[in-house]
């Protein structure tokens, strides 16, 4: 019978997956590091987060799995920037809460897709508020002018959804090799 609570094997897998996710998402960071355009960083990292989260949730479809990925990726970022830690933890917590309220877990494919797709876009409001507080500016000035930030936010959702879809594709390949049970 499948265990409902997270066991040692799950925690270790999620922790190593988080380490790999941090490294792979770090590849995109030099491209967007120096920009002030709101949402561009999230759009770049969404490309990797959705994919890894779907794989993580497929291997460990248990409550709390997403929160643990958020927590473990956040811990490494904590050594560099406290804001990034809270970004990841609050994003994961919010996505987990939404999935728990709608799907009551990660049993269905739709729940995994929604959780992985929502994670990065849900960090956007946290970034907006924390940047406004830290920079001592208003939320509207952090948001910026014109249509570009709105485009970036929509782009983050779309890239995240595409990345989650790609995650399912990889899961199917891993299933064929016998490495993953779906």
């Amino acid at each position: 019978m499948e265990q409902k609570n997270l066991v040692m094997k799950d925690i270790i897998f999620l922790a190593i997956l988080s380490a790999a996710l941090l490294l792979v998402s770090g590849l995109a960071m030099p491209l967007v590091m120096f920009t002030d355009i709101f949402g561009l960083r999230q759009m770049a990292s969404a490309l990797f987060f959705g994919l890894f989260l779907v794989i993580g949730l497929t291997k460990v479809p248990k409550k709390g799995a997403l929160l643990f990925i958020g927590l473990f990726t956040g811990v490494v970022l904590l050594f560099m920037s406290p804001v990034m830690f809270w970004n990841n933890v609050i994003g994961a917590l919010a996505a987990e809460l939404v999935c728990f309220l709608i799907f009551r877990g990660y049993e269905s494919k739709a729940s995994k897709f929604v959780a992985a797709t929502l994670f990065t876009p849900l960090t956007l409001p946290v970034t907006l508020v924390s940047s406004a507080i830290i920079k001592n500016e208003t939320i509207s000035s952090v948001w910026g002018e014109g249509i570009l930030p709105a485009f970036m936010c929509v782009g983050t959702v779309l890239v995240s959804a595409f990345s989650s879809w790609l995650g399912f594709k990889i899961c199917a390949e891993l299933k064929r090799t016998g490495k993953l049970k779906l």
């Binding site: 094997k9 925690i11 380490a19 790999a20 490294l23 792979v24 891993l174």
Partner: protein, 232 residues
């Protein structure tokens, strides 16, 4: 690498974390004030005084060019003052992270275990932190293997990233996690928070008290100056 830039003094892990938080937040709040650069210099001085000079040189060697570049990129659109503030924010992030950059993750985990944090949390944290360099090495090995098979291995080549990097990496993660779990379980590690002895827990020293007092002094003085500049 980290061993080479680590000095004799290592702040108590929770103090190092608290320092990173407080210096970062106070620095960001002071970024628009004239006393901001004095604040950064004062924090840097305290760090160097306590033996973090090697770490400071290492961190600044990386972040000074990055900060300069960030400022230069922002210069045409934002103007001189805003560009300087942006460069300062990058530097503040780096200076705040000096004690945590060379902090032993295992020390933090031991302190957290002693404080009664759940074991699955501390174990996961330690594995993630320890596996970042290990996974980087794994990825380089996969990349070299693909290169030797004649595959174009540019980091921004999507086909390579998908087929020849991410899939092998995921397979390695699954294999490593299975092995590591067996290894940890055979060493008697259990998830339940039963009573266990934690060896070599870092303890709070007199030097930690001095370091904390000096940093609090710097924060109070410069925050006061910031408020003064704000109202004046």
């Amino acid at each position: 690498m980290m061993d080479r830039i680590r000095g004799k003094y290592a702040a108590f892990p929770l103090l190092a974390l608290a320092e990173a938080y407080i210096i970062f937040f106070v620095g960001m709040l002071l970024a628009t004030k004239p006393c901001f650069w004095g604040f950064l210099l004062a924090v840097l001085f305290v760090d160097i005084l306590f033996g973090y000079w090697k770490t400071a040189v290492f961190v600044l060697a990386i972040f000074l060019p990055i900060s300069g570049l960030a400022g230069l990129i922002a210069l045409p659109g934002a103007g001189g003052v805003k560009a300087l503030q942006l460069a300062g924010r990058f530097l503040c992030l780096a200076i705040a992270a000096i004690p945590t950059a060379v902090m032993e993750p295992v020390g933090l985990v031991r302190v957290m275990n002693r404080m009664g944090f759940p074991r699955y949390l501390t174990l996961g944290m330690l594995v993630t932190i320890r596996f970042v360099p290990y996974m980087a090495e794994e990825m380089m090995q996969i990349r070299t293997a693909m290169k030797s098979r004649g595959i174009r291995t540019g980091w921004y080549n999507p086909k390579f990233l998908y087929r020849a990097l991410i899939i092998p990496v995921i397979i390695r993660i699954i294999n490593i996690s299975d092995l590591l779990t067996v290894s940890i379980e055979t060493r008697g590690f259990v998830m339940k928070d039963v009573k266990a002895t934690v060896y070599q827990v870092p303890s709070w020293s007199f030097k930690d008290t001095l370091y904390a007092v000096l940093l609090v002094l710097v924060v109070v003085v410069f925050s006061g100056m910031g408020v003064w500049h704000g109202t004046g």
